[in-house]
């Protein structure tokens, strides 16, 4: 097991279009992955997460920066000498070998004694629940068992410093995904390998990982627990990417005490107001946005009570979609669209007002969260 430190790491592919405004596939970053942590690397396709993973595993050499394992510089070490295990999107098995031989393969290549190999293989087979199939040809297995073998070839090794997963459940049947993910989680809890799990599926990321690293366009935008990412996304992209539906993001201005969206004032909490003042956002002219989760908005009937309370704002109801346990209410505030979740069965008032919770109404300057320490 090892902690992984990516020091001022960046990567540009040699063949990258020189005319492009950003030559980096991976913008320079500095990131520490703690020993024994279960990380998910979440982001849309093409955001650089596989590039980052291949740099850690050594399949790709970064064009700048260093990779440190437990403080030791491994940037120039080959993949096999880094003692990394990696599970790929498509299960890789050695077709002509049996299940047991597949698991023994990495050990044989390292010249281990055959008695040790046998013991390790037997242990790993039990761990994966494949005891009964040790002598079957690997090619006869279905996709999820093959993927288990790919994982097993990492688990069987005693020297593995981290296990990397590159969208490992893509080709797995949906009803087995859940099962395999749970088993992964169990294996992590038992053996506490450092695990990095690349995915573009937020459910996968949030259920697997202790900490989720959200990436977009070659940059790490936020590292945090699922709660942190949900409650206080530090970048508007994180807010809109995580959650279903994602966070509402509305263009606004700051008048010194509230966010103003198309002339409508939305209350902010004190810490945010303080931070906004500290940065002089009322006059600075940077692009401001206000972010609020559909889950933290409350749709009520407009009336006398709501007109006096600054937490309530009048909105137009554009439509309602049934999501099962909730209804998704599409609304218009000023000239901008947003949505709110509404308990199913509750009537949607025709003249509606929306209650904003200042603690859950976040202010973003240039897409970055405005917060006290920021």
């Amino acid at each position: 097991m090892a902690s992984i430190h990516l020091k001022n790491l960046g990567h540009r592919y040699a063949a990258y279009d020189a005319g492009s405004d950003n030559p980096y596939a991976l913008n320079p970053l500095d990131q520490v992955w703690e020993d024994g942590g279960a990380y998910a690397l979440l982001g849309p396709s093409g955001c650089g997460k596989t590039t980052l993973l291949n740099i850690i595993s050594g399949l790709l050499r970064p064009s700048e920066g260093r990779v440190l394992f437990d403080g030791e510089d491994v940037t120039d070490l080959s993949t096999e000498r880094r003692n990394i295990a990696q599970v790929f999107q498509f299960p890789v098995v050695y077709d002509t070998l049996t299940v047991a031989e597949n698991l023994a393969f990495p050990l044989r290549n390292r010249g281990m004694e055959s008695t040790t190999i046998e013991a390790r293989v037997a242990e790993t087979l039990t761990m994966l629940g494949l005891e009964g199939r040790a002598n079957e040809r690997a090619r006869s297995l279905n996709a999820d068992d093959k993927q288990k073998i790919s994982l097993g070839r990492g688990l069987v090794r005693t020297d593995v410093r981290a296990i990397l997963f590159d969208e490992p459940l893509t080709v797995i049947d949906p009803h087995l995904k859940w099962q395999l993910r749970t088993e992964l989680k169990k294996i992590h809890e038992r053996f506490s390998h450092t695990m990095i799990y690349v995915t573009h599926d937020q459910t996968e990321a949030l259920t697997f990982a202790d900490k989720v690293v959200v990436m977009n366009a070659g940059s790490i935008l936020q590292v945090g627990t699922p709660e942190q990412l949900f409650d206080r996304p530090r970048h508007t992209f994180v807010g809109t990417f995580i959650g279903s539906p994602g966070m509402n993001v509305l263009r606004c201005t700051f008048d010194g005490e509230a966010a103003v969206v198309d002339g409508v004032k939305l209350p902010l909490d004190e810490a945010t107001i303080k931070a906004a003042h500290a940065r002089g956002l009322a006059t600075s002219g940077v692009s401001l946005e206000v972010g609020v989760r559909p889950e933290s908005l409350l749709v009520v009937g407009a009336g006398v009570n709501t007109d006096d309370d600054p937490h309530y704002v009048r909105v137009d109801v554009l439509g309602v979609e049934d999501l099962g346990r909730h209804s998704l209410v599409r609304l218009r505030l000023g000239n901008q669209l947003l949505c709110a979740l509404h308990p199913e069965g509750a009537a949607i008032p025709e003249a509606a007002a929306l209650r904003f919770d200042p603690a859950r109404t976040l202010l973003y300057a240039n897409s970055l969260l405005v917060e006290a320490n920021g």
Binding site: S57, Q86, Y94, T96, P106, R137
Partner: protein, 294 residues
């Protein structure tokens, strides 16, 4: 209720006619010759299986058959490993790929008799670059007089002409292996040999069998090149079955024995093809039945 009638026969009739005209009828004329004797004047006498007995018992046939089998075995033993090795060494991307592919395809585009002529001239001691070069180095090389030299020349010529086919087939198999297999192998610490043995060889096995089959058939039926280069000599040392057959049928006009020999030749090829076919399909069935178990 199933309607049962014989309409299906009408559907296969055109195919039957085509096969009859193109294959069965010509074959039957050969069968016809093989069981009769003639002394000219279009008079034929029934001789039964006499020609078959004669051919099968003749030393001439045995020798030609052995030469042909040896030639095919040598060709396979050289071209298959060499073809795999070249395919493995070929680049996988970039401009060099097209260059290599064109280079590899070139010998395949040259007609058989031209290949023969090229090597016939190339190997000549008086004017040929190879022959004269070797002679000036003091090496005693003469394919028209020395059996060993004749064989070496024919084999090098065939390797030059046909290894490309094996290369191209293997290369097509190799490039279809996803990059991720190599990445996984690197992570598993696999050696170059282990990568070949457990990733590349299993993936090219099918195309390799096709390559083996094609090269076997072709080399077993080789005619034009030895005819042009050595004419079957020196002596009978490069007289393969095909050359022997033509000498018998056209040179000596022994229609009966020649017909019997063609049939035996044909049956040998059919038998060996069947063996290859069985091996190939049984390999496929293994894979299919293993897959079908789940």
């Amino acid at each position: 209720m199933k309607v049962q009638n014989n309409k299906a026969w009408l559907m296969v009739l055109p195919m039957l006619l085509l096969v009859a005209v193109s294959a069965i009828i010509p074959l039957m004329t050969v069968v016809n010759y093989s069981v009769q004797d003639t002394f000219g004047n279009n008079e034929f006498f029934w001789v039964g299986t006499e020609w078959f007995h004669e051919v099968l018992a003749s030393e001439r046939f045995h020798n030609a058959l052995q030469r042909t089998l040896l030639f095919s075995a040598l060709i396979l033993a050289i071209e298959i490993p060499l073809g795999i090795a070249i395919a493995l060494a070929m680049p996988r991307r970039g401009i060099a790929v097209s260059f290599c592919l064109v280079l590899m395809a070139l010998p395949l585009l040259i007609p058989w008799n031209v290949v023969g002529t090229i090597w016939q001239v190339f190997g000549r001691v008086d004017i040929g670059l190879l022959g004269h070069g070797l002679a000036s180095l003091g090496i005693d090389y003469n394919y028209t007089q020395n059996t060993f030299d004749a064989w070496v020349t024919l084999i090098i010529m065939d390797v030059w002409h046909w290894t490309s086919l094996v290369v191209l087939l293997c290369y097509s198999g190799l490039v279809s292996i996803p990059e991720v297999y190599y990445q996984a192998a690197r992570i598993d610490g696999a050696s170059r040999w282990a990568i070949f043995r457990f990733i590349q060889l299993p993936k090219i096995k099918r195309v390799l069998l096709i390559a083996v089959l094609l090269r076997f058939m072709d080399s077993f039926m080789i005619y034009t090149e030895p005819f042009v280069v050595t004419g079957g000599g020196p002596g009978n040392s490069t007289t393969f079955l095909s050359i022997d057959l033509v000498q018998m049928a056209v040179g000596q006009f022994d229609l009966g024995p020649a017909a019997a020999m063609s049939l035996i030749y044909f049956l040998i090829i059919l038998l060996l093809s069947w063996v290859f076919y069985t091996v190939m399909t049984s390999l496929d069935n293994d894979a299919a039945s293993e897959q079908g178990r789940h």
